[in-house]
């Protein structure tokens, strides 16, 4: 599936067989813990320990356990939201343990302060967990083999493992289940506890269908509101028309008397109604009479926001010496809602001095602290148990935990469990949004078509990261930096991959009282997109082919390789009918590189994407099918937000209320094919979740520019105002 590039770059990171600290956990059956993420200097690479005190204090581990029935259980600090981590983790564990995929169960750990980082997002999961997972599984295998060797009184080195069994040369075999108890007492493995080298893989790297596919297609998968928590009452909240508006007063007498209504609770965010069914809760919510105070953004509409952003761009800097001409590009991006298919939801049960919540949270530890603080237990957050539940899409939205906080407060006030659901309107109009932005790019040209400078100034409302950056910055900056601001995040993540002389990219943060959040690819969803669109504009100015210009200025071997691949697979430059054109764009980020080639037809007036060709270098693709799915999905996101989906703000309120007016693309807009080609330069584990968005959006815009002769500068393109 993947082509191998000849190695000449720096040694790969992330998936080499570096040491990760592992422990044998004192337990009746075999259980191995591994420390997540941070590598130990090899001098310190400790022997496994059974000291429970050391284990208690260990801040961050994942567990691989073998039960007496032979099942292997991997417990992780991550939430499945559709990214396929369950499948990838199952594959890694099955690989190292030589057992079947169907013998592995993957569990999400409840929020626990000892997980240093329990945040699912920012493309970090596999980069962060692959190493320790493999270490723990390989360690478990070594102990199972040693236990068998002791039982049979043979040399451990003569034994092999396959299909969940240890086998001896004389044909004797023992299932892992039969060895699980003995292996728990093996103090020193007598075979190598080192993970396999990628060359030995038979499972990892093979295109593999999702392990939960059957449960999904039969409707057996349980999302938060599908859980059967006894007595949990369906609950909805009447919310203000404006963002962060508040309740001035309300009259619930009609609502309380309606059929099925169980109770009404005032919150700072609105008025909650619990009833026997959601239909009755909605009906009673609509019967509430609430007087609202407008929210803090009620003086702001689209035009004001655009002016504020434009004003933050400031005067032009002096161009570099010898500049003969400066080319300017200006771009506007809208606010975007994450609009996950499953709206925000939470089941909560607060009794006396403990609380339990079930919710599809991207950061359970943050959720726990938020709920505890709301209940007045900031100093004793251990009274709150958070059960992370599989989520119907996250995309950055589920870092925020308003639903959990609301549900806990309502449950305490009513004295019974509740299942809180946000309506689609709530989800659209009371979210945290990918902020709008305005960009100015100045390209300084010199004699003979030389490129002397590239200044990009981006005015973006401050992005909220209350949950911190997790291990993302651990991997970027090599250490944990809890105090990072969005400005530093910008600096760390935004790069121009071209030799363009004097390159400067600056963030002008504009504080606006509209809630924000990270969105697939964070700042790159604007900065990176604008850059790649303007590279094409520069090619037009210089009368050069956009592929040829990129090739001549790219510094990364990986980027050149993926660009070459889409040029080949997509037959760049082939003859096309009038009104049909190709566009390309590239991106290197999250330790991965990607290129997109998009073909678009503008003959009907409304751009239609005909096909998308993607080449990606994600290092070792643990599950190529999963990588392909993520990249296809990100391409649809990019097409949706480039063409038709964007929010409008009218006097502090979000205009769009559902998928009827938030025009996310549908089947009829999907291209005939989205091909994914994997190029593999080495065995690092690159990020995938965010990777596929920015260059897909830019390649589409570039194709439209080449088809129509006009560079799109305002998004979404089909918005009347744009």
């Amino acid at each position: 599936m993947a082509d191998l590039l000849p190695e000449d770059a720096a040694p790969p990171s992330g998936f080499d067989r570096r040491k990760f600290l592992t422990w044998l956990v004192a337990s009746p059956t075999l259980m191995v813990a591994a420390r997540c993420g941070l590598d130990l200097p090899s001098a310190q690479a400790a022997e496994p320990t059974t000291d429970p005190a050391a284990l208690e204090e260990t801040p961050l581990n994942l567990y691989v356990a073998v039960r007496t029935d032979g099942r292997v259980v991997a417990t992780l600090p991550r939430t499945e939201m559709g990214q396929g981590i369950t499948t990838a983790v199952t594959m890694l564990v099955a690989e190292e343990l030589d057992t079947g995929l169907d013998a592995v169960d993957v569990c999400t750990a409840d929020a626990d302060p000892r997980w240093l980082i329990q945040l699912t997002g920012l493309s970090s999961t596999m980069r962060y967990l692959a190493g320790p997972l493999r270490a723990a599984a390989a360690e478990a295998r070594a102990r199972l083999v040693t236990a068998a060797a002791h039982r049979w009184r043979v040399l451990a080195l003569t034994l092999t493992t396959t299909q969940g069994e240890v086998r001896a040369p004389d044909g004797r075999r023992l299932g892992y289940g039969e060895l699980a108890e003995d292996a728990a007492h093996v103090l020193l493995p007598e075979v190598s506890p080192l993970p396999k080298s990628p060359g030995e893989y038979t499972v990892v790297g093979q295109p593999t269908g999702r392990v939960d596919a059957r449960d999904i297609v039969t409707g057996a998968v349980r999302f938060t509101l599908d859980l059967d928590i006894p007595g949990a009452m369906p609950t909805v909240v009447a919310r203000p028309p404006t963002l962060r508006g508040t309740v001035l007063s309300f009259n619930a007498s009609t609502a309380r008397a309606m059929p099925g209504v169980v109770g009404v609770v005032q919150l700072s965010s609105g008025v909650a109604v619990a009833a026997r069914t959601f239909a009755q809760a909605f009906a009673a919510r609509d019967a509430l009479q609430v007087t609202w105070a407008p929210g803090p953004a009620s003086h702001l509409s689209d035009a004001d926001i655009r002016t504020r952003l434009r004003d933050a761009i400031g005067p032009r800097p002096l161009p570099p010496l010898l500049t003969t001409r400066v080319v300017e590009g200006r771009f506007d991006f809208p606010y975007l809602a994450h609009a996950p298919m499953e709206t925000q939801s939470c089941v909560a049960r607060v009794t006396g001095d403990v609380a339990e919540v079930w919710s599809g949270v991207q950061d359970p530890k943050f959720a726990r602290n938020q709920v505890a603080a709301a209940l007045g237990w900031a100093l004793t957050p251990q009274r709150v148990t958070v059960h992370p539940i599989r989520a119907g899409g996250g995309f950055g939205r589920r870092f925020f935990t308003e639903a959990a906080v609301e549900a806990a407060l309502i449950s305490r006030s009513l004295g019974q469990p509740v299942k809180l659901m946000w309506s689609r309107n709530d989800e659209m109009r009371h979210g945290h949004y990918r902020p709008a932005s305005h960009h100015r790019i100045l390209a300084s040209l010199g004699p003979g078509g030389s490129i002397l400078g590239w200044q990009h100034r981006a005015a973006i409302p401050t992005v909220e990261f209350p949950h911190g950056f997790g291990d993302l910055l651990t991997s970027l900056a090599g250490q944990v930096l809890p105090e990072v601001t969005s400005a530093l995040f910008f600096t760390l993540t935004q790069h121009v991959p071209y030799q363009f002389g004097w390159v400067a990219q600056e963030l002008a943060e504009v504080p606006l009282p509209i809630p924000t959040a990270s969105f697939r690819s964070v700042f790159t969803s604007q900065v990176g997109v604008a850059n790649e669109i303007f590279v094409d504009q520069l090619a037009r100015e210089l009368q050069r082919d956009p592929v040829e210009l990129r090739r001549s200025r790219l510094t990364s071997r990986r980027l050149k390789a993926v660009l070459d691949r889409v040029v080949l697979e997509g037959a760049w430059g082939r003859t096309l009918p009038p009104g049909v054109a190709q566009g390309v764009a590239v991106l290197e980020e999250w330790d991965s590189a990607i290129a997109h080639l998009v073909e678009v037809d503008v003959t009907s007036g409304t751009p239609r994407v005909l096909r998308v060709i993607i080449a990606a270098d994600v290092g070792l693709p643990i599950n190529p099918k999963g990588v392909e799915a993520q990249l296809q999905g990100a391409a649809m996101d990019a097409m949706s937000t480039t063409l038709s989906a964007g929010l409008h703000i009218d006097a502090g309120a979000v205009r769009e209320g559902s998928f009827a007016d938030y025009r996310w693309l549908r089947m009829k807009h999907a291209p005939a094919s989205i091909q994914v080609h994997l190029v593999r330069s080495d065995n690092r584990v690159g990020g995938v979740g965010e990777l596929g968005y920015p260059s897909a959006a830019a390649a589409l815009a570039n194709a439209i520019a080449r088809a129509t002769g006009t560079m799109p500068t305002r998004f979404p393109i089909l918005d009347e105002g744009a």
């Binding site: 297609v217 039969t218 509101l225 059967d228 059929p259 069914t277 993520q630 296809q632 999905g633 989205i674």
Partner: protein, 162 residues
């Protein structure tokens, strides 16, 4: 409160509830049938798509009183004793799902399409499936899975027809 009788996934059920309660909430909150999802409640997302007398419909828009005496099928009732429905098999083979939240509705819409039109073209699929949103962007795989299911259904039906 009136009692409403209908056939749910092959079994007769009787529910006491106000006649105007949308069927989606009767299914989910009263009967505990959680396959059909809430995505909008107003008929624009398709997450709740199920079958009424074999045709795709949206339980969020239909009051329970309307389905009395009719046959309702949800994703839970699609597989039978013989195993998964060919559309479910095709969905697994094409590895369609990401988060999975929209997929019960997508599958039920696809089954209804194939019943009406056993050999749909891409244009037929666009027309029939464009009211079902997939926020994870699985459309190209859904399209392949529908073509694959059409083949499976034809090869299953073939011997019987002969």
């Amino acid at each position: 409160m009136p009692a409403h009788q209908f056939i749910l996934n092959g079994q007769p059920v009787s529910v006491e509830s106000p006649s105007d309660l949308p069927l989606l909430w009767v299914l989910r909150d009263v009967l505990g049938v959680t396959g059909p999802k809430y995505g909008c409640g107003v008929g624009v997302c398709g997450a709740c798509t199920s079958h009424l007398d074999g045709e795709a419909f949206r339980p969020c828009l239909h009051p329970v009183g309307e389905v009395a005496g009719h046959e309702v099928k949800t994703i839970e009732g699609l597989a039978d004793a013989a195993g998964l429905h060919p559309v479910q098999q095709a969905w697994i083979a094409e590895d369609v799902a990401q988060c999975g939240f929209c997929q019960p509705g997508q599958i039920m819409a696809a089954v209804a399409l194939l019943r009406r039109n056993p050999q749909p073209s891409d244009a037929d699929i666009d027309a029939a499936m464009s009211d079902n949103v997939c926020r994870c962007g699985t459309y190209v795989r859904i399209r392949s899975a529908i073509h694959r299911a059409a083949l499976l259904l034809r090869s299953a039906a073939g011997p019987q027809r002969r």
